[in-house]
Structures are given as structure tokens and as C-alpha cells.
């Protein structure tokens, strides 16, 4: 597809990009409005940011969200990587496919069903709704995406690499840490990042399993937005946008570096 782009195509793309980004910049723009509404810009102010940083409750919620995201991404990456290694070592193709089928159930399931079924699960198991139920659910729905990110890297790895390591006298632990893990590092990073964004972005599942005392950012924004507009949310979204852009740049560089690495990179 290497044809030249026409003016019409450029206009079309321009409109798409405009529509995609306009709401985000609209939010950020009005976070500086002294008027207190999201219409009619009255004057420049940083009051909403000040209010945001003095709102300890909201800051604790932000902290909760970040802690949940980091912990769940870390734990799900560990479980997912070992799961993927296990799947690769399965001898029969049929077993592999059925495990992968089960793996993908949570990826294609709508959030509402994941949330509702986890709510039943936690109630039956007697786990109190709060931090741990949210953490467990986030780990649970992040594992399959980690497996999907890591497995292709494992599959493209030549089995003779492992045999060679064994022949040279490497222990299983050495094979794992010196051969397998370095080879699949780009996949592990990609999986970790995906798990992180899944967790930060999740609303529906958390909404079901969060109970009364504990809240994450999404759930909090939902209850604030149902009450109407308050410009601290705008200020918060401006900050979140900044953090997202930084994460994207980091991710872009990691994937670029991964692409350039001889061993771990794309080899066809």
C-alpha cells in the first residue's frame, strides 16, 4: 500500500484526529477556567489544581489506583510468564489449544460478566470486598494478556537453544534465567505494560467488586460525574493525560529497543 496520499485522505485523517483529541484537550482547557463550569471560559486560574492537591481523600484514591496497578501487573506478569513457559512445554498441540481457549475466555468476556461472576465468587469464598478483592480481580484479568504477549516470543525461540544449554551443562534454573528469560524479555515488558494499562483503565470489574470502603480512580470519577461537573476532575484528567503521554513515550522506546535487539527482536 504505497500509493500517495490524496488531499481528501489528509482531510479525513485530520478530522479523525481532531475528533479523537478534541474532548481530551477540551477537558484540559477548562481545568484552567475560573468560572467553575465546562462552558464559557472566564479567566485563567490554577485553583482547581490547588484544590486537587489539598483533597487528601482523592490523593489516597490515586495512590490506591497506582498501587493496585503496579502490584497486579507485577504478580500477573510472574504468573503469566510461568504459565506461558508451561504451555510451550506441553507436548500435545490439542492440550495447548484447549488451555489457550480457557486463557482467552477472560479477554473476550465483557467486563460486566467478569465483574458479576467475580462478585459471586468472592461472596461465596467469603473474601471481604475491598483492597484484596480488587487486587485479585485485576491480577485475574491481566494474566491472559501477559500470556498472549509472552507466548509468541517463546514459540519463535528455537528449541535447540535450550538443548544446547543443557548439553553444555546448564542446570534448569540456569536455562531459565540465562537463556529463556533474556530471550523473552521484550514480551515480558509488553505484557507488564498491557497489564498496567488494563488495571489503570478498568472501571466495570472494579465497580462490581469494590465494596464500600475502597475506591479506585475510575469508580470515584464515575460517582463524581454522576453528580455533575466539578473542575477538579478536569485538573486530574490533565495530569493523567501527562502521565499517559510519558508512559506512551517510555513504551515506544522500549518497543523500539526491543525491535533492535538481535536475539529478542523480530526474526523471521
Amino acid at each position: 500500500m504505497s500509493r500517495k496520499s490524496s488531499p481528501f485522505a489528509n482531510l479525513f485523517l485530520f478530522i479523525i484526529f481532531f475528533v479523537l483529541y478534541a474532548p481530551i484537550f477540551y477537558l484540559i482547557f477548562y481545568s484552567f477556567n475560573s468560572g467553575g463550569t465546562m462552558s464559557g471560559f472566564e479567566g485563567f486560574t490554577l485553583d482547581w489544581y490547588k484544590e486537587l492537591f489539598s483533597d487528601t481523600r482523592l490523593l489516597i484514591i490515586v495512590l490506591n489506583t497506582v498501587v493496585i496497578a503496579l502490584l497486579s501487573a507485577l504478580i500477573s506478569t510472574i504468573i503469566g510468564v510461568f504459565g506461558a513457559i508451561g504451555i510451550r512445554e506441553m507436548k500435545r498441540k490439542r492440550n495447548q489449544n484447549s488451555i489457550l481457549g480457557l486463557n482467552n475466555v477472560l479477554i473476550v468476556s465483557p467486563d460486566v460478566i467478569i465483574g458479576a461472576s467475580f462478585l459471586i465468587l468472592f461472596t461465596m469464598a467469603g473474601i471481604q470486598l475491598g483492597f484484596y478483592s480488587v487486587l485479585l480481580s485485576h491480577i485475574a484479568f491481566s494474566i491472559p494478556i501477559v500470556v498472549l504477549m509472552v507466548l509468541p516470543k517463546l514459540m519463535e525461540m528455537s528449541p535447540s537453544l535450550i538443548d544446547a544449554a543443557h548439553d553444555l551443562g546448564a542446570s534448569r534454573w540456569n536455562v531459565l534465567t540465562k537463556v529463556i528469560l533474556p530471550y523473552i524479555t521484550p514480551g515480558i515488558f509488553a505484557g507488564f505494560f498491557m497489564a498496567l494499562t488494563y488495571s489503570l483503565d478498568d472501571f466495570a470489574v472494579t465497580f462490581f467488586v469494590t465494596g464500600n470502603g475502597f475506591s479506585t480512580l475510575s469508580v470515584e470519577i464515575y460517582s463524581l460525574a454522576r453528580q455533575g461537573i466539578s473542575l477538579n476532575i478536569n485538573a486530574l484528567s490533565a495530569l493523567i493525560f501527562l502521565v499517559t503521554v510519558v508512559l506512551v513515550i517510555v513504551y515506544y522506546y522500549i518497543s523500539r529497543r526491543a525491535g533492535n535487539q538481535g536475539m529478542g527482536g523480530m526474526r523471521r
Binding site: M1, L13, L20, I24, Y26, L102, A116, I143
Partner: protein, 267 residues
């Protein structure tokens, strides 16, 4: 022998995850769907589901999901096509994906402001001389915001399909005298149908089960299957009925996946 033991050790946490968080939840949902509101075993939920209220809701939920998917596809396909023709296309693609990383709730919240009575959309309508309209809490706003949210997920698989298209095929079609439109209809589109299918799959299923947009943007005017499940679980506490709807949603999900299932051709 040793191989097998270590493999099993690797697999223990992952296997536990499959048992407790994949299989058990589905079984529990099915189990609860057979319980009435007092917790007795009965088929009353299934009887209720086949009354006109729930069937109508299912139909309208389908209709909205179809509308959202169709519009997303109509916008996403040309976008993906034009993107593949730009310089630095990976960078542009990344810029398409960035908004999907912004929290969903914040985007919905932005539209509450934009579509509000004094918001930007109404200012624009005033400027055009149409005068301000009720935009928030209508079907239009619901479909618009849903399409807005799903569009990156539709563009991505189509873009990948277009990228893996062999460009010499286009030259061949051109040499054989096919017009641009014929080339698109007979060559490009059929070869990228897998991308279209997986795009539709990742939009249609979530669109069936949206629930927070129906509350924030559609003001409870639209009730999807997702909204009904949320309502039963968290408001009326009738978990049995909620589970029954969830069972049907799971069935619908499997039907759609098998319909749009991607069979890799060739290698």
C-alpha cells in the same frame, strides 16, 4: 521425568488461576441463574427472560451494538486505509491508540461537558444558526460517544490486515485494468476481511454490555444487557436474574466468536 515435575511446578499458579478465575466464575453464574430471589432452585428467571420486557431489551441492545459496530467500521476502515499511505505510519497509528489509554470515564465525562446545554456542541449549533438542542441524554449522544470510545480498537486490526497485504497484488490488479474501486472491492477488502472481523468482534461484544455510558451519557434512556446485569446485581440485588442475563450474554458471545472466528489461511 524431571522435565515433567518442573513443568508442573511452573504451571501451578497458572492452573489455579484457570480453575478459580476462569472455570469457577462461569459455573457459579450458571448455578445462580437457577436460583430465584429467595435462593430456591427454580426456572423462574428463564421464564422471565422470555417475556416481552427482556426480549425487547435484548433486541434493542443488539440494535445499538449493531449500529455502534457498523458506524465504527465505516469510519475506521477509511482511516486505516489512509493511515497506511502516510509517512511515519507507525507514529500516526500510535497517536490513534493514545486516546484509548486515557481512562474511559474521563472521556465520558468530557462529553458531558461538550454535549451539555451550554457546551461546545451547542455553541457550534448556535453559531450555525440552528440553535441549541438537547444533545446529552439522547440516542445520538450514546451512539456517538460509544463509537468515539471503540474506534481505536476497530482501526488497529484493520490497519494490521492492510499492512500485511502484498502491494504487488495492487499493481497486478492495476495492470489487468481494474479501476480503483474494483481493486478495492475485489482485492483489498476480501484480503483484509479477517481484520474487519476481529475489529467487529472487539467492538460488538463490549457494545452489548456497556453500562456506565448508558447512565452517564444516555441518562438511563438506553438499557443494554450490561445495564440490566448491573442493575440486578448492584441495585435490586436479584443475582439470579442478573446471572440469567449473563448466561445469555455468554452464549451470544460464543456465537459471535464462532461467527467471526479467524481461521488463518495458508501458513
Amino acid at each position: 521425568m524431571e522435565n515433567k515435575v518442573t513443568r508442573n511446578l511452573y504451571m501451578i499458579p497458572y492452573a489455579l488461576w484457570i480453575i478459580f478465575f476462569v472455570i469457577a466464575p462461569i459455573l457459579l453464574v450458571v448455578y445462580y441463574s437457577f436460583l430465584d430471589i429467595e435462593g430456591n432452585f427454580s426456572l423462574v428467571n428463564y421464564q422471565n427472560f422470555f417475556t416481552s420486557t427482556y426480549l425487547q431489551m435484548t433486541l434493542s441492545s443488539f440494535w445499538y451494538a449493531f449500529l455502534i459496530t457498523a458506524i465504527s467500521l465505516l469510519v475506521a476502515y477509511p482511516t486505516a486505509l489512509f493511515l497506511t499511505r502516510t509517512k511515519h505510519k507507525q507514529l500516526w497509528l500510535l497517536l490513534i491508540i493514545v486516546p484509548s489509554w486515557i481512562n474511559l470515564l474521563l472521556k465520558a465525562y468530557a462529553f458531558i461537558g461538550i454535549f451539555g446545554t451550554y457546551g461546545a456542541a451547542n455553541n457550534f449549533l448556535e453559531f450555525l444558526g440552528i440553535g441549541s438542542q438537547q444533545i446529552l441524554f439522547t440516542d445520538f449522544s450514546f451512539v456517538f460517544v460509544s463509537v468515539y470510545i471503540f474506534i481505536p480498537f476497530m482501526i488497529l486490526p484493520i490497519f494490521n490486515a492492510l499492512e500485511s497485504l502484498n502491494p504487488t497484488l495492487l499493481d497486478a490488479a492495476n495492470d489487468l485494468g481494474a479501476s480503483k474501486w474494483t481493486t478495492f472491492r475485489r482485492v483489498v477488502f476480501p484480503l483484509t476481511i479477517d481484520g474487519v472481523k476481529s475489529g467487529c468482534q472487539v467492538v460488538f461484544i463490549p457494545a452489548l454490555s456497556l453500562f456506565m455510558l448508558t447512565r452517564l451519557i444516555a441518562g438511563n434512556r438506553v438499557i443494554t444487557l450490561g445495564t440490566a446485569i448491573e442493575q440486578h446485581f448492584l441495585v435490586t440485588q436479584d443475582w439470579g436474574m442478573g446471572s440469567t442475563i449473563a448466561v445469555f450474554l455468554i452464549i451470544i458471545m460464543f456465537v459471535i466468536i464462532s461467527l467471526t472466528g479467524i481461521r488463518k489461511r495458508g501458513a
